[in-house]
């Protein structure tokens, strides 16, 4: 058995991430996921006024700044016990959905399906079709995703002024009302996007597609008409399954979802107690049970991270983020290792769909478990749902002209205390935990979706989710391990930085 450590780089992900894989022959026997960029946001927040979080924290991520803004504003509202009018919650939900649709379209058709055009697949019967659909800047699906992802965030701009990076969700509501001008402009954008999605992506009307409940119904649909199998989702399915993505990249079976989109009529309740359009929960992969989510069970470990060490895990309210770069130790990343009740978990559209009980995704999961293919499929399923949801919300907003969009707080000062905001960003559960002392932020801890998925080993030596999703993988050609690209990209990696994997002497890389 020859053993070696290999390093690979991946582009078309967001962020700087290295992987160090140990191969025995061609099988991955150990994996280290290395977030190589440190930016220090949590330190920047300390000593600032609480509202500044609404300007600083969206800048954590250029893709999900709206979700970051929402997490920050929920934390502040919880801290000050503020109410939010229904119109504001509708507008927030609409903008969060638009941002997620943007991200899912780009992830699917700019980042993920480009790998189907890899020269490795040149001999496959579907290759020319894949190129005509997915080749960057040339394929019809790529071009459509560029166009409609760009248009989708115009909806955020209408209500928030711009995308990326705005601060239009404020404690008590949002800054702009549900003006019929904005509502109609949004509807016009949405209608065109839905038309494209129905014509090119699913070759069916949204409602019909969403009515598909089981995997056998789905396969019947796929074979039902040539248009179905030649749609983007048809091609993704045929190609993905031909190359075996339904048998790869399972990772941890435990899933976490914070739920998404606060019930608009419950703005008088603390955000943690509001019902959400998509349910929160913890899916225990061993028992198959879905249990209620409890944020007190979140902890972060730093045993293998370049932060000042502490033992075991700490809840974010006790958390600390003090960089301690020690390159020549067994510590290897700038990611912390978040755990839920001591479990390694994954988060993202697959977890969200299973915990919410989406029948089609659940049906696939029960027969095949959560693979790289199903993870990506769940993302596209979500896009269809969100487009339908956005249409419904805009219908509701159209009736709400003149209703209040903000209840300004009585005081611009925030009380001392603590608050948290938990939201679902495109990549999964995102949480902000903040504490205010003497009117200033004294602690701010952010646990991003990617921190869950890209986590290193914890104090007990348990691998993080991405790491474990690569263990046991057999790589065809270690000098061009395209399988690794499929698996890692199916998780929608976002370290706001490149995925590398390391090779002690030979550098290997993933080609299109």
């Amino acid at each position: 058995m020859s053993s070696r450590v290999v390093r690979i780089e991946l582009n078309r992900v967001e962020g700087d991430l290295d992987f160090e894989l140990t191969l025995q022959d061609r099988v991955v026997v150990d994996a280290r996921c290395i977030g190589s960029l440190y930016r220090g946001f949590e330190q920047i927040m300390i000593g600032r006024k609480p509202m500044d979080a609404l300007v600083i924290t969206p800048r954590i991520c250029g893709i999900c700044g709206t979700a970051q803004l929402n997490a920050a504003v929920l934390a502040l509202e919880q801290l000050a016990n503020l109410q939010v009018p229904a119109t504001a919650l509708h507008i927030r939900n609409l903008c969060l959905m638009a941002e997620t649709v943007q991200s899912d379209l780009r992830q699917s058709f700019l980042f993920f399906t480009a790998d189907f055009c890899h020269s490795k697949y040149a001999g496959r019967p579907w290759y020319e079709t894949a190129v005509s659909a997915f080749l960057p800047f040339k394929g019809w699906a790529h071009k459509g995703a560029l166009e409609y992802s760009r248009q989708m965030v115009e909806i955020v701009a209408l209500f928030g002024g711009q995308w990326p990076h705005s601060s239009y969700m404020l404690p008590g509501g949002v800054t702009s009302p549900a003006s019929p001008r904005h509502v109609l402009n949004s509807l016009s954008i949405l209608n065109k996007a839905i038309q494209w999605f129905e014509t090119r992506i699913i070759a069916t009307e949204l409602d019909q597609w969403l009515a598909i409940q089981t995997n056998s119904e789905f396969f019947n649909w796929l074979d039902g008409k040539p248009g179905h199998s030649d749609s983007a989702i048809g091609l993704f399915t045929r190609i993905g399954r031909d190359i075996g993505l339904q048998r790869l990249g399972f990772g941890t079976p435990h899933m976490l979802s914070y739920g998404a989109y606060d019930h608009p009529e419950q703005g008088d309740k603390p955000s943690a107690l509001r019902d959400r359009r998509y349910r929160a929960g913890f899916l225990n992969g061993d028992s198959g049970q879905i249990l209620p989510f409890d944020q007190t069970k979140v902890s972060e470990h730093v045993r293998f991270s370049w932060f000042q060490p502490y033992s075991g895990g700490r809840h974010p309210f006790q958390g600390q983020t003090i960089p301690d770069y020690q390159p020549h130790t067994d510590r290897y990343t700038w990611c912390k290792a978040p755990r839920y009740q001591d479990n390694v978990v994954q988060t993202g559209p697959l977890a969200d769909a299973l915990i919410d009980g989406d029948p089609l995704i659940t049906s696939f999961y029960q027969s095949e478990k959560g693979s790289a293919w199903l993870r990506q499929f769940a993302r596209l399923r979500r896009t269809a749902k969100l487009l339908a949801d956005m249409r419904e919300i805009l219908g509701e907003l159209g009736k709400r002209s003149g209703s209040p969009h903000i209840i300004p707080p009585h005081s611009s000062e925030f009380p001392d205390g603590e608050g948290y905001g938990l939201v679902t960003a495109a990549r999964g559960g995102l949480g902000h935990w903040l504490q205010v002392t003497d009117g200033l932020i004294s602690r701010y801890q952010v646990v991003t979706p990617t921190a869950w998925n890209a986590s290193p080993k914890d104090s007990e030596g348990r691998h993080g989710h991405w790491e474990s999703s690569l263990l046991g993988l057999e790589i065809d050609n270690p000098d061009d391990p395209v399988e690794v690209g499929h698996i890692i990209r199916s998780h929608d990696p976002c370290l706001v930085c490149t995925v590398h994997m390391l090779d002690s002497d030979t550098r290997i890389s993933i080609r299109p």
Binding site: C117, A157, G160, S167
Partner: protein, 313 residues
Amino acid sequence: MKSLLWLQTGSCGGDTMSVLCADSPSLEELIDHFGIRILWQPSLSTESAASLERTIDAILADQLALDIFCVEGSIICGPNGSGMFDPYRGRAKMDWIRRLAEKAGVLVAIGTCAAFGGVHSAPPNPTDCLGLQFDKTTGGGLLADSWRSRLGLPVVNLAGCPTHPNTMTKTLAMLATGIPLELDHLNRPKLFFNTTVHQGCTRNEYHEYDVEDTSFGGNACMFFNLGCQGPMTMAVCNSELWNGRNSKTRAGVPCFGCTSPDFPLDRDLFLTEKIGPIPVNLPLGVERANYMAYKSLAHDAAPERVLNKKMDT
């Protein structure tokens, strides 16, 4: 054809996401119609990462011409000057940037981070980061004040957090087609930094008549009480709308001055600092005494439709 290399340093990816939103021209148009050949863009390239290494090595060995070099993100120097908070191929990215800059026809700082340090350089600046040729408002960035690119230009600072999408693509189109680029005192292209955010803001009439909001969510001007820096900030946000649709100030969000070298200010961002009743920072070029005089006159002259804030924005 002009070759373009785009690297990310300490960044959130927001400028890449922003450039994907450009529509006049779009990123695709730069490729299809403006003769730009992208050697590498981290989110879009399908070439392998190994090909990025070969590209960089070829540029450094003078085997491949680098016409336009875009850097997105703060230049990270920590810890202890090592730059290893942000490495590439085992070496600080700041070193790679410095070496590649020597080969570049023009070096473009994409975003306020690359231009001046940006959000990551807010106190206590945990990563010891700075901009390419500026450290906040002064020189002392990664490259010397006297540094010039192969074509004789200082770093072109496309400031903004993120940079306005069309400011990016228009500047790149100008560079690709040889339209001369005039820079302001902060090395930002004058064409896109010659107007205040305040100009073109739909809340302007409220400002003229000194009718100011005291809480968020209203129609009136946010300069006097709510921290808006629109009258002091140079950017196109209200003359070329964001995403073709809107601007922060039109939507009721204060301008935080994100194209300025001191962004983000180290104070309460949603409050206007005042001395007595007058803001510490007045609209660009306005004298304090004059301001006091004309504002009280203006308020007295305000029409009812403005005073009762019933006008839509």
